[in-house]
């Protein structure tokens, strides 16, 4: 159920995510080891375009990557196909994007 286009989208988003995951892990280690408080973290991320771009790209890539992965899984393991399969894929993608985008917005500009 994966055509060339979906396959490419999933590989490209994987490529995007690889450095972002490493960056994200580094941020976690830095923030916890350094003993930054929530307020201090927010102080640094608030109003920051670079953080918006970093995590915004991450959320965007994750949404696409995961939606395509879920598509393959529910087709092969639950037998979903046709319109239902499309709906599940898009709902997964938009759902993840909405959740992620809301969080990113909250720590950068809200």
């Amino acid at each position: 159920m994966l055509s060339l286009r979906l396959y490419l989208l999933q590989r490209i988003t994987a490529l995007l995510m690889a450095p972002l995951v490493l960056g994200h892990l580094a941020v976690i280690v830095y923030a916890t080891q350094g003993g930054l408080s929530a307020a201090e973290i927010l102080g640094r991320t608030h109003g920051s375009v670079p953080w918006l771009l970093f995590y915004g790209t991450f959320v965007f890539a994750v949404s696409i990557h995961a939606a395509i992965g879920v598509r393959a899984i529910v087709h092969e393991w639950a037998g979903l196909k046709g319109v239902v399969l499309e709906v599940v894929m898009w709902a997964t993608g938009f759902g993840l994007f909405a959740l992620g985008a809301r969080a990113v917005w909250a720590v950068t500009f809200a």
């Binding site: 159920m1 055509s3 396959y7 490419l8 590989r11």
Partner: protein, 240 residues
């Protein structure tokens, strides 16, 4: 051989798992799984249906599930697969059962056609015979896959085929890959399109059951990886 008789369970009927029959088959030295099935048909139950032709691993018609694993039965020694003194033999997975151990191979071969697994010739009988450079990288790739005997063992081993009936499967895709690397084949675009659709090579999860179980020692998984690379390359070229 510890005992003089083998306990042979054969799965029969469309609902194979629920129609098991047990036979006591005399044990011999150098006995293949196919010998055991043949003994049952000849001496215990002449209504048992199964398929074979060459008995030497060339025709690809004798594949069955042996203790849940797809195998060519004519070249599988029973001593290698016995679980204690017993063995369970069933029809090949991922294909419709016709009767007993005989499956319908049509869907398997239909997929070869769907993958454009036929020669796309460009020459006529008036042209000189095309010379093939056996040392070229492409020819080496093609040669790696051409000894396929169409036994469908890989197709039975593939969980992606099981979950996604449209998936063309390892054998058909490997065939497409050999054609793509054959200097005499002129169907490049047709092949690339055929393996890029809904059931195409991009569905493969690269877990390698096909390669692990192919009795001829072929490597469809790597052939499919090659198709993924080539289709990606040609897509990017078209976009540019």
């Amino acid at each position: 051989m510890t005992s003089k008789f083998l306990k042979v369970t054969i799965e029969r009927g469309a609902d194979a798992k629920n129609a098991q029959q047990v036979f006591d088959v005399p044990a011999h030295e150098s006995q293949t799984v196919l010998d055991v099935v043949s003994w049952v048909q000849q001496f215990a139950d002449p209504t048992l249906s199964y398929r074979f032709a060459c008995r030497v691993g060339m025709c690809g018609s004798c594949a069955m599930m042996v203790n849940g694993v797809p195998r060519w039965t004519c070249r599988t020694h029973i001593s290698k697969v016995l679980d204690g003194n017993s063995v369970t033999i069933g029809p090949l997975r991922n294909l419709p059962i016709i009767k007993d151990l005989v499956v319908d191979m049509d869907p398997f071969f239909d997929k070869w056609v769907a993958a454009e697994g036929m020669h796309h010739g460009g020459l006529t009988r008036d042209d000189p015979v095309a010379l093939v450079d056996e040392t070229s990288a492409a020819r080496i790739e093609a040669n790696a896959g051409i000894e396929c005997i169409n036994c469908s063992v890989c197709h039975a081993a593939c969980d992606t085929v099981a979950g996604n009936p449209e998936y063309l499967g390892p054998a058909a895709l490997q065939r497409a890959w050999t054609l793509l690397n054959d200097a005499r084949d002129e169907g490049r675009e047709a092949v690339l399109d055929a393996v890029s659709g809904k059931g195409g090579c991009h569905n493969c999860h690269s877990m390698g059951s096909c390669t692990a179980y192919c009795p001829s020692g072929l490597d469809p998984m790597s052939a499919i990886a090659g198709l993924k690379r080539e289709t990606t390359k040609s897509f990017l070229e078209r976009v540019r």
